[in-house]
Symmetry: D2
Subunit: 371 residues, 4 copies
């Protein structure tokens, strides 16, 4: 059996983490922090009662009464921001200003100006500021990126991407994300299209430069929200730096699709396909013979192999990827420079692509994505 | 074992068929004609020698020296046109004017005006005039269409379509289709995008109304062609009559993809996915539980079941679909009105969608597809 | 597009075929005969009325009143035997004695002595006598065999085979095959296990030498049959000439499985997996990287490529395989020696394996398969 | 998004764990212990130096010089035994005798007598004693079991199981497991066949009663081991309590198969297929229409849903399953009675099945599995 007895990181000293928010993402963040051997100092939420409940459920040492109190605690090194979208920017700003490292859920902000200011602030203060574009942390996504980087695929020609979900497919399905006041002006694209665009650019190693988009709001009224303005689905044609063209389809109303993020990049020499729901394999298409590459650490690129903590055939999944993201962010806090860590600059980038999508959909014209 | 002992059709009297062209498609057409129990009267090709060779290979009773001679033969009821694209319209016109039924390869013409004139001529003469949008004849494509028609999918929301091939992926791969003088002004879209658009509209039961497209010519010089102007790949955002939106990606330069035509339609109640390379199954996506529907004649819609000539688990394929298309066209010649037979109106429709794609790609603007 | 404009065979002169039986298999045989450009002289069935009906449905020139009359017709070269199992041997014998070539459905006979006598008779008369082990005629099954033969898989170590169906899964599902008087003493194994064993031996290039089997009759009473003695499912451990070992599971009562024939052979260097329901691909497993080999004629072994009548990505299926089988059988009648044609010796072999299975199941001991 | 904000367990008080061994399995155990919020008190290994290395790598508070010292530590509640097979029994015995709870890697012992004695000792002392048949902890394996238990599959008819790996496929691949002195008299079956048999019985809810097996040692000499007597592959026919029959194929020399554990159970009403390498789905086969059931907590049986810690479409994997196993074992230590926890009785059961396999292979006869 392959000898994989070391965990992803061995941070120099114990990281002391605090958590804002007590929902699903806070649970995922806190598991990853624990796996990275952090001290889970405490958490806070939208009320003191909820903060205590979250602390009990998630195993925090303490519950804080307010975000301010948590941020002010000198025993906390890093703040995980796991709250509704519209609050990300202000909490992240406060944490950075208090000298804390920050791991902030996406979208980093609901407009590019705020996101840019946060990225600048983090840089100015020399703090680690990361955004969980977590799908970058599947070993086979790294393997895809490494193969593009070494030229195996040749010049990029086309991109075929989709991110399809169905958790808002029913007319009564509802969530705070649906409300623009809490979720921001974009929903489907900001929520999941941003992951798709990030993964395309991460693997391709080049940027989307121009796009033509169409958005659609299927249900203008849901269980608790009315006058809904945020989009349920988005269809986009994109052009990349190298001249590659492609399509992105993003939907939260696609019955039967749970979390179907897929990208297929075709170059002059080979194609690569990665599917988040089957993250253990990478399809490598060649005119001669196509190949399924298994996540076998012994045969992957180093940056992919280092994320493989169990042997091939023992499936790794979403929490494993999240664990690797947090481990790398903590390693950065410890002074390392892990490859591919998504930082606030990447969070800003996602907001810019989202704004281009909304602008194109509004104008019916091609729009350049701000560099 | 299910009792499927009757072939798709039992035409009233024997159809007498003639074939123009001697390449791959002529072979496919002639096999289908034989399966439909036609008399394979004769064929012609680009030279008398080639005509004799094709007649020998494909089992025609006679070789004709010219298209004119074949069309003039009173012993021929139907002419199969299997020649390079730029010649389709003139041969089809001559055959119709001679009172022959016509089965003409797509694209029916290289511009909409010619295609419209042909459709009008066929209607005026009361002749059967069909275009092989053959993917309509997979039982599970029919099943998908039937499920949309009965409302199982609800209101259509999104379309996710692709048609990816790699037979022109090498810079030296070449073909007459690459030359606009023979193949027409569009290549990838006219050749395969037309199949994709036809299948989307056929299954959805509604039309693409507007689109925004981007085309790309990767290789401007191939083995024998230079100054190539026809596109290798196309990315499109489409809007349909009902307001559904979606993406279509079409490429002949996607390494590892052989004939990867796929459509996924998502409605308010269910999604459907059909893949031409796995034509024996239909994925039905529902928020609750998704289902794989096998091609089991006992459980399909009547229009799907009638095309199933072997039991479930005994794969049907491309030639079976082509056989069903020709059988239905011959049945129409015999006076029947088979559901879903693609006629010259459908060939015209495909040219109009193709022209809209080229127009949008040229202007960078959304373009309405002519009704 | 690859140039595949020739059909599998071009027989020297037209073969004149007669058909005994009018059910599903007669339809499949007759389509294949037509595709091979035979003259479909006539057919007969269990009554004169049924014979006329079959002739109408299947497009035969004439209906014969009796098997004897059909066999006696000097205008018939080859007799296709498509009747219930228990009648195969006597009809095949009569046809051979009348100097006809024979294509006889499996099982060739319901005991090895009869099958051996038929094989000897065919050899003595110098007649072509074939049994439709049709799964041999999928190009990728041939490709698998070619790869084993050239040593790509190394020494054979294990065999993992299954043939699962569900058409008898309901307690009321019934058929003449269930009745030992018509179907013979074995049902599931004689019917489909024989295909599985044949394909394993055909691809492996070596024989099953010993086996230990367990059979089970789930329903002793069905809609019209009672006191049912024939087995619904069989589980077998096999040993092959080279010392390879493996398992075969055969069932006609496996809900959801339509015609799930699969074989996976593992050798010292590589594994191969072929699934009849996905016949267009071959999985090649290697410790380093596994590969999906598409049915791309340009890249297959010659014996596989010659059976590929459409390009990669245009699915071939069951009828295509059957067409190739009949074409090869007719080519043999025309004097050719096509590789891999299953003859009466192979039909005898299947009966011997079946008898070993029944013997082992009865005794509870390992049984040698007669050579 | 579904609200899954609670981890699998919330143990009443912190469990204090000690670890014997420092290899791959110790890493997996220790991650699971950390995820369950245990205190990782310390570990030991085959030397003091290795113990310190393991403690550093795996994040233990202390390194113990010897197994005896670790077991004697009053600050340890539970001992995880992750050493070579031949040492399991003696370490587990010592730990139980010291009043510690034990989680012991399989095989629990290298013979049934030792395993039975351990199970008896654990019962007598009232200690939790578990064996990581970890594949029981995939939510969809639980879902399969729940569906069998509620009668959805009907009476069980057949079992189709396999466990195929390739990490010993090369003649030079080697490991302590190959040496019977360290690994015990059975290798492939004890190592992985035991998982397969356990999962079959766990899901089916009934036991294997009789079997006929064939084993094979492909390489009698590897890199460091010679005169190898332990088997590389095993083929088995099994019979279960209800009369169901089936096949099990187990191999560690199957090129391209990494950890391919699969079971397919067919009953009178439905079939179920679970594949460990794709643990997020369960195939439910029915004659009418087959279904893919996604791991969607909202729609699973309670015992499956409680193991689902992230929403559908966010893949769970091997470590998640292991975390759930350890969480349940710790919950049992805390006084709970988690359903489906594999205890020493199950470890004994696996040894008995293994001994039956070896006995049948040696004698060539059917063997009853000791109850």
């Amino acid at each position: 059996m392959a000898s994989m007895t070391t965990d992803v990181i061995a941070p120099a000293s114990t990281i002391r983490a605090g958590f804002v928010g007590g929902g699903f993402m806070a649970a995922v963040h806190s598991r990853a922090a624990r796996a990275a051997r952090a001290e889970l100092v405490g958490g806070t939420s939208s009320s003191a009662e909820r903060a205590r409940d979250a602390a009990d459920r998630l195993g925090f040492e303490a519950a804080f009464d307010s975000v301010d109190a948590l941020i002010a605690d000198p025993g906390i090194d890093v703040v995980h921001v796991c709250t509704p979208n519209s609050t990300h920017a202000s909490i992240a700003r406060a944490a950075l200003e208090a000298g804390k490292h920050v791991i902030c859920e996406k979208p980093l902000a609901t407009n590019a100006a705020d996101a840019a200011a946060l990225a600048a602030l983090a840089a100015e203060r020399g703090l680690v500021a990361a955004v969980p574009f977590v799908y970058r942390f599947h070993p086979m996504a790294r393997e895809a990126r490494a193969r593009v980087a070494t030229g195996e695929t040749g010049r990029l020609l086309s991109v075929h991407g989709a991110y399809l979900q169905d958790w808002l497919a029913g007319s009564h399905d509802d969530d705070w994300r649906v409300d623009a006041a809490l979720g921001g002006p974009s929903r489907a694209f900001a929520d999941i299209g941003s992951h798709l665009a990030d993964l395309v650019e991460f693997v391709a190693g080049e940027r989307i430069t121009r796009l033509s988009a169409k958005t659609r709001t299927v249900y203008e009224r849901r269980a608790t929200n009315a006058d809904i303005a945020t989009e349920d689905l988005v269809a986009v044609v994109v052009e990349l730096e190298s001249g590659a063209v492609g399509t992105l389809l993003v939907s939260q109303v696609a019955p039967g699709r749970k979390n179907a993020l897929s990208i297929e990049l075709s170059g002059t020499d080979a194609s690569l396909r990665f599917e988040q729901e089957r993250p253990e394999q990478l399809w490598v298409g060649r005119t001669g013979a196509s190949t399924i590459v298994d996540r076998d650490p012994a045969r992957l690129a180093p940056d992919a192999a280092r994320l493989a903590v169990v042997p091939a055939g023992h499936p790794m999944g979403y929490q494993d990827a999240f664990n690797a993201f947090v481990a790398d962010a903590y390693a950065a806090i410890g002074g390392a420079a892990p490859d591919g860590l998504p930082r606030f600059d990447d969070g800003l980038r996602a907001v810019r692509v989202t704004e281009a999508v909304l602008a194109s959909a509004a104008s019916g014209a091609w729009v350049e994505v701000a560099a």
